[in-house]
Amino acid sequence: MADPVLSIRDLSVEIPTRHGIVRPVDGVSYDIQAGEILGIVGESGAGKSMAGNAVIGLLNPPAHISKGEIWLNGQRIDHLKGDAMRRLRGKEIGMVFQDPLTSLNPLLRIGDQLTETMLTHLPISRAEAEKRAVAALEEVGIPGAAERVNSYPHEFSGGMRQRVVIALALCAEPSLVIADEPTTALDVSVQAQIIALLRRLCRDRGTAVMLITHDMGVIAEATDRVAVMYAGRLAELGPVRDVLTHPQHPYTHGLMASTPLASQGKRRLHQIPGAMPRLDAVPDGCAFNPRCPHATDKCRQAPVPRVSNGQAACWYPLVDEKVI
């Protein structure tokens, strides 16, 4: 297999607080290949976004990378600082945020925001950048792109704005895109369009995508592989079909069982008992053990093995257990 675009090795992020150090990302490893979409799924506070912010170098201090390595196209980037990291942002790593209503500057025309980004990273003239801005808007499916470059963000609907955001994230042709909940703030009818757009653009260009979401539907629809996170740790990593239909980790199993499916009509949804531990009180052993129906003493004491592709971080992985 070719070298991955992004390779994260045993990454930990720490935040010093008054109650001691919390670790929102704890020893996470995964790769993303060119043209591949890796879904990162988990509950709020599981460390999904934090990992994405660590990759693009936008952790809010005092949060910082405490351990591990991040490699982008064969270059180690986790220790890059200031201007060196800034040059990668936008150029090598694009980012799409959750809320398109707030992620565009309301006082600047979208064409200006596009050309500004391109001129920062690409050795092209202003005229060329303006031409590419129109092309970029056309590519993300904005009708009348030639006129709409002169529009302000408030003149677009939510779905259209997210298309503009995607155009902005992709305009300098990065090799990796981090999409942090790109559809959560959108109408359901628009969500599918945005996902399809993101998929198409990345396939065409061979861009690697880290798709962070808590929506199992989006995962099933868009991703090639999926990483399930729980309390800052990777619970399970594998091809999306395997993970969704034959989850090996009891947490993934619970997550799948609590996803409503229209085809199954009305039924009582499964609930995982309890709640995810606070990050300053993660239990010893497996972080999931207090909520796990299969937990033993071993789960409560021994640290679980780290996962690689196709594995679950579990002493007793479920074998061929059907999701109800």
Partner: protein, 326 residues
Amino acid sequence: MLAYIIRRVGQSALVLLIVGLVAFAMFRFVGDPIDNMLGQERTAEDIERLRSQLGLDQPFVVQYYKFLEGAVQGNFGVSYRQGRPVAEILLERAPATLELAMVSGVLAILFGIALGVFTAIRRDGVLANAIMSASLIGVSLPTFLIGILLIYLFSVELGWLPSFGRGETVDLGGWTTGFLTESGLKALILPSITLGLYQMTLIMRLVRSEMLEVLRQDYIRFARARGLRDRAVNFRHALKNTMVPVITVIGLQLGAIIAFAIITETVFQWPGVGLLFINAVQFVDIPVMAAYLMLISVMFVGINLLVDILYFFIDPRLRVDRSGGH
């Protein structure tokens, strides 16, 4: 936008009418100008004659109406004390105040915004914290005290700068300016710092807090995530968004600078309209006081009108009748 401006001008005219009415009503309690104008050896007859000559025997509403009638024609009556038309006196004095206010305003805006941005961007820096602490002095010390301290330091102790007056002025077709002579410029320094310091610290603290708020917004994060340079993020993206609320306050403060000039002009014996007003109050010179108050309110209202129009240029979301094509 035109309809909006017309509506605002209408509102402004109404505000001016009301200010005039309130001011006029108040003057009736300042004292009786006749007492000051006639000497000790006055007779009841003299008093009556002067009173009807000045129209002071007429009902309040009639006096107010006459004042307005004259005012719209640029005629504010004759000063009781100097016996010259008020409009003439004001025009003669206005350049001194306007030049002082302009220099103070420019100083306050330039330094206020620059220091505000600096303290917001380097919010944990030692220098930024020092500036913030020092700004408390500017906010809390009264204007006259700052003036006196400056005079003590730079005029009395060091002897670098004059302690009063405008220095030499040059007459440019009715507008006397202190900008063209060395002594005029020197004389401007202390009064304009005195007058502008409070506004500067106010603008600085406002810019800082607004900017910190803007820097937390998603679009700033997104701008950083696109790898834009710090300069572009801070100035193109953040500062522009900071300016909308800041401009409102700056507009109000410019009006306040002209109004507060009374104190600074008194401390520095600056021959402007503020000093004129103080002297007029002592003498119950009603025409001068009325004209001064109208002048100040015209400036306040005018500046606010300008500010509202400026919004349209800064914030595209307010250009409602713009056909953006939805």
